[in-house]
Every structure is written in C-alpha cells, then in structure tokens.
C-alpha cells in the first residue's frame, strides 16, 4: 500500500482520537435500544394476528436489524481506522478514506512545510487532549487534520524533521 523511498522510514502514524469512534458507538447503543421499545408495543398492535407467525417474524427482523447495525458500525470503524497521517523522515502522507471505493492520498514533502499550527478548542478537546494541526506549505496550501491525539508530540516531531530536512537542503 505504502511505498517508501530509499532511506525513508515511518516515524509515526497518527489516527483520529478515540472520541470520534466513541460518539459513533453511543449512537449505535441508542439504536440498539430501539427494538425493546418497539417490542413492548408489539403485543398491542399484533393482538389480532396469528402469534405463531408474528413471533418468529419479529425475532427474524430483530436479528436482521442487529446485523445491519453491526455492518454500519463496521463501515464507520473502517472509515475511522483508514483515515491517517503517516509522518516519515521525508514527507507527510495524508490518507483519507471517504467511504467505500473512494480514497484520497496527499503528500507534503517536509521541505515544503512553512508553518505548523495547533488548535485545541473547547472543554472536551482540552480535557481529552486532542485538537487540530494545520500545516501551511510553500505552495500556500493548508493541510488540516482534526481530532489529533498527542498534539504537541506530533507538532514537535513534524517541526524537528522539517528543520533537519531544510538544514540538509541548505548544506
């Protein structure tokens, strides 16, 4: 998947903070609680129907509903897991999975990095220690990654190798 140049090594891989998936899981749990509410009303709605058919039918659709929730949770996790930034000693690779069969990969050579800004906004980001890194390049493009854990370490790593790369070029 990832082809490294000669002498290039991966320094770190950054994925979004677990809080991103936690929100999805909360929604999943709420959706999982819907069937018991529906099932509690079902006896009143289906009182006049043949219970020998209604009961297995209800259980069948309940099983299928849970399978659907599972596959959508799996899809959202895949989307979360495959979104990443890979920092090597030569470049920053921004990989963004946008659903199925849609993937965007951008690269920023470290020598083109002009400015690195970090932003921590709000109570949740402050206490869970994640935020946004913005990288300004020489071509006036801005790369942004949100929900970055270990923000300061990531920034320091990028700046350390950016500085070293730019010193090598000048020498």
């Amino acid at each position: 998947m990832l082809k490294l140049n000669e002498n290039e090594k991966i320094l770190t891989t950054i994925r979004k903070h677990w809080f991103v998936m936690a929100r999805t899981i909360v929604v999943f749990v709420v959706l999982l609680l819907l069937p018991p509410m529906v099932l509690s009303l079902l006896p009143f709605i289906t009182a006049e129907f043949d219970q020998a058919t209604i009961e297995p039918l209800t259980n069948l659709f309940l099983s299928l509903y849970i399978m659907v929730l599972l596959v959508f949770l799996f899809l959202l996790w895949m989307d979360y897991y495959l979104d990443m930034w890979i920092i090597t000693n030569e470049r920053i690779i921004d990989v963004e999975q946008q659903g199925l069969f849609h993937r965007q990969v951008s690269e920023i050579p470290l020598q083109h990095v002009q400015d690195v800004t970090i932003e921590v906004k709000g109570v949740i980001e402050t206490f869970l220690k994640f935020g946004t890194i913005r990288i300004q390049t020489a071509g006036e493009r801005e790369f942004k990654i949100e929900f970055v854990p270990n923000l300061y370490e990531a920034k320091d790593l990028i700046l350390k190798y950016t500085t070293a790369m730019q010193k090598n070029i000048r020498a």
Binding site: M1, L2, T13, D50, A52, T53, E55, P56, L57, N59, L60, S63, L64, I66, M67, L70, V71, F74, L75, W77, M78, Y81, L82, I86, V95, Q97, L100, F101, R103
Partner: protein, 65 residues
C-alpha cells in the same frame, strides 16, 4: 407468507455478504502491516454477523410454511 420472507432473506444475505466483503477488502488492502487491530475487528465482526445470521435462519424456519 414464508416464501416472500425467504426471498427477502436470500436477497438480504447476498447484499450483506457483498457489503461486508467490500469493507474487509478495504481493510486488508489498506491497513499498514504492523497494525493488528483490523484483524481483531474483522474476526469479531464476522463472528457476530454469523451468529445473528444463524439466529435469523432459525427464526425463519419457525415461520409456518
């Protein structure tokens, strides 16, 4: 009643398998080799999906023919 439900179940299963296979393909294709988390998640998903599919199959055959 049973036949339409059976047809629906077969169509659902085919679409589900295709969708799940697409997700697994992406994970196997694009995961970095040193990260084993995807293998664990794939295994858990396949186990749970198979389990609930077997439950649904059991309930399907309890519907009066």
């Amino acid at each position: 009643m049973f036949i339409p439900i059976l047809v629906f179940f077969i169509v659902f299963t085919v679409l589900y398998v295709l969708f799940a296979a697409a997700i697994i393909y992406h994970l196997r294709q694009y995961t970095l080799s040193e990260h084993p988390a995807s293998k664990v998640v794939i295994s858990v998903f396949l186990f749970l999906a198979a389990l609930f599919w077997l439950f649904s199959l059991t309930f399907l055959f309890k519907i009066p023919y």
